[in-house]
Amino acid sequence: MAPEPPLLTMSGITKSFPGVRALDGVDLEVQAGEVHCLLGQNGAGKSTLIKVLAGAHQPDGGEITWRGEAVALKSPIAAMRLGIATIYQELDLVEGLSVAENVFLGHEPTTAGIVVRGGTARTAAAGLLKRLGHPEIDPSRLVGDLSAAQQQIVSMARALSHEVRLIVMDEPSAALDPDEVDNLFRIVGDLTADGVAVVYISHRLEEIRRIGDRVTVLKDGRAVAVGLPAKSTPTRDVVALMTGRNVEYVFPERPAAGAAAGREPVLRVEGLTRQGEFAPVDLELRPGEIVGLAGLVGSGRSEILETVYGARRADAGRVLVDGTVLRPGSVRAAVRAGIGLAPEERKAQGLLMLESVTRNVSISTLSRFSRSGWLDHRAERAAAQQATRELSLRPDNPDARIRTLSGGNQQKAVLARWLLRGCKVLLLDEPTRGVDVGARAELYAVIRRLADEGLAVLLVSSEVPEVLGLADRVLVLREGSVVHTADARELDEHRVLDLVMEGS
């Protein structure tokens, strides 16, 4: 081995959040001057791990060694002082400040510690931008006026404005055009030539083959493979390591294949398109059927769902419920036609967190409990209670405040809302996000039962096993296009991952 100790060693890192063990003893070892790739499915623990590395999360256990010495990364500033910089997928730039101001935010060059020397900052920023191959970015321009790719360069310049030894890049190529990706790789090459280590996260295996030195694979909060050679490990092996989750989900029985085939489709989507989000999508949904959309983050899954629901306006195409075309871009039209949505961000988009269960359940059905605008609280409460009981929501108390409920029960409240309304089509966006493992099986059973009772369900999930286990039919998405459609029983996790990652 190298005579010098590794630049960074993380061993046995654990981190739990309420209901989830995000990191369950992760090991990572990074050498100076290497490109170390981090692979894993959504929820495998990549984001948590890099946040620990950036000092944004404090681990519950484990050890971190930096250049041979044990360290604690107590805050983002502490990590930065050591020379660890992180470029997040969602860029953390201040749009109202100039490029130079962003680059030196928090460590501005000053005179006497008070007066910012803007000229010095601009000159230094220009130097960094040139080094990054983008001398055309004017340091005095506002960051908000730059393109996404340029903003990423600024973010990188900010990382390099510190004395940096390790840069973490979280899916840096996701927002880039191919030629910009080439420039990114050139920068990565320059950095490593200078002895800087890069921790590189990407879903694109071909990129990892091009620039990676070694690969660490995460699954279920554990490192299942540490330091594999990036160039020579077969794709098959990498995918095998990422899949086959240890947590066994219990999925409900599916009805016989083709059971719903004879029925008239309740939802028909024809050529639905949104520029830059997804290519024309066609699909049919029959009563009693669960159709899953599988794909990576940014493949257009949620966008399709929200467009069907009218929360986004389609550029082209149409949505029909029972043969009637819906007014585009109108949530109310969709709801009236019998569509319900359980949104991806349950707390931000689905629930009234200050309110009781009853009020969250009845919100879409208020007119049923009112006469000329006056609410009948008792009827409302009784109906909400009945709907939540059908889904065995706990606690069985319609007056409980929604925020005191677990994630699974909050999700049941959202489902109860649409059950109460008597909708025909249910759109589920990441229905088990933030739901702990034990409660998932129950939620799956509920969803299947609703389908058996005649509901048509369109399911989006970033967890491939969930889509495969729950859905009858699966549409695989890659970068906004449906690349494959099949009966869920004919697909397995490997095949789906191959499709979404390499498009083969």
């Binding site: 949530v331 988009q349 009234l352 967190m353 409980a400």
Partner: protein
């Protein structure tokens, strides 16, 4: 059997199983907390009455003084009811004072007064609703931030009021309007304006707590995106809310005309701040999602009583402003504490 216990939550008997998690010490922490909050405001009010009674026993507790306090509370009180709805929905209406001014001068021009009582009342209400309509359209459909849209309305409505009056006081000569303000018009010792205030309060309380309109208001304020995705027409709701606030301003303007016997472009000065302050100390969340008409009205009464006590004791209005500020801070601090205690 369907009497509500608080505007927020009905006190219906629970059918079965009700051993809910006892986090806030109650099975309906929200309802209880509002009660506690209102009770503490009632306590403050009681202390103030005691202070008034002790410092100026003869004057403060005299019927005529109590009538005066309530009358003074009535005008700003009606404005505050409208403001409470707007704040509960997550909005703000900075233009209420200016709308009151504009409505009061428009309704007291020589031309309007020719149409007598009905003309004045009608004009005041229409001007109020009209301004509310502009606010609502700008905010709901023009996607302007409420703060900015109503700030613009504040400036232009005040300007228009000045334009109409040319800075002069417009004396009201319609006797039927003035008669509402005199002692002979009191019903069982209660001034008619106070009855109007009481009616607006009760209607506001019922609408916020017992109607789909009220429920949608709370939902929009609590989480506008969730409300939209649940199928609520958030924009229309916002439009209605600013219309409602404008309507309250129109009513308040008419009340002010009765009270002052005139219309002035300086009417309603800083009403926006008084109304916001009263709503906030009453327990309405400035960020929206929770509002209480009863709390707002108690807030108005607290502020009006302070003003009265300070006036009776010949204290400077500067001291009075300081006391108001201190009360706002204290009330919000107490609320944070009860909130945190309940949610922990």
């Amino acid at each position: 059997m369907t009497q509500p216990a608080t505007p927020a939550q009905q006190d219906a008997p629970m059918p079965a199983a009700k051993s809910a998690p006892d986090k806030g010490g109650s099975r309906r922490p929200l309802g209880l907390r509002l009660d506690v909050r209102n009770l503490s405001l009632l306590g403050v009010l009681a202390v103030l009455v005691a202070v008034g009674g002790i410092t100026k026993p003869d004057e403060f507790l005299a019927t005529s003084n109590l009538q005066l306090v309530l009358t003074q509370a009535s005008v700003i009180g009606v404005v505050t009811v409208g403001m409470t709805f707007v704040i509960t929905s997550g909005g703000i209406d900075l233009s209420v004072g200016a709308i009151v001014a504009l409505a009061s001068v428009w309704a007291t021009t020589v031309a309007t007064q020719e149409y007598g009582f009905t003309g004045i009342l009608f004009t005041a209400v229409i001007v109020g609703v009209g301004c509310g309509l502009v606010n609502g359209l700008l905010i709901a459909y023009g996607r302007m931030v409420p703060f900015i849209a109503t700030l613009a309305m504040l400036a232009s409505a005040r300007g228009l009021a000045l334009q109409i009056t040319d800075g002069k006081t417009q004396i009201v000569t319609v006797d039927s309007v003035l008669d509402l303000g005199i002692r002979d018009a009191y019903i069982l010792g209660i001034p008619p304006l106070v009855l109007v205030f009481a009616a607006v309060t009760v209607i506001g309380w019922l609408v916020l707590g017992r109607t789909t309109f009220g429920r949608r208001t709370v939902a929009v304020g609590g989480n506008a995106e969730a409300a939209r995705l649940a199928g609520i027409d958030v924009r229309r709701q916002r439009l209605y809310l600013y219309l409602l606030s404008g309507l309250c301003c129109g009513i308040a303007a008419f009340m002010l005309i009765v009270l002052a016997g005139s219309g002035q472009n300086t009417n309603g000065n800083l009403y926006e701040l008084d109304a916001i302050a009263a709503a906030i100390i009453g327990g309405t969340l400035l960020s929206g999602g929770r509002g209480t008409i009863v709390g707002s009205v108690l807030g108005v009464l607290v502020f009006t009583t302070i003003t009265n006590i300070f006036a009776l004791n010949n204290l400077e209005s500067a001291v009075q402003q300081i006391a108001k500020g201190a009360i706002i801070v204290a009330a919000v601090l107490v609320q944070h504490r009860t909130l945190r205690g309940g949610d922990a």
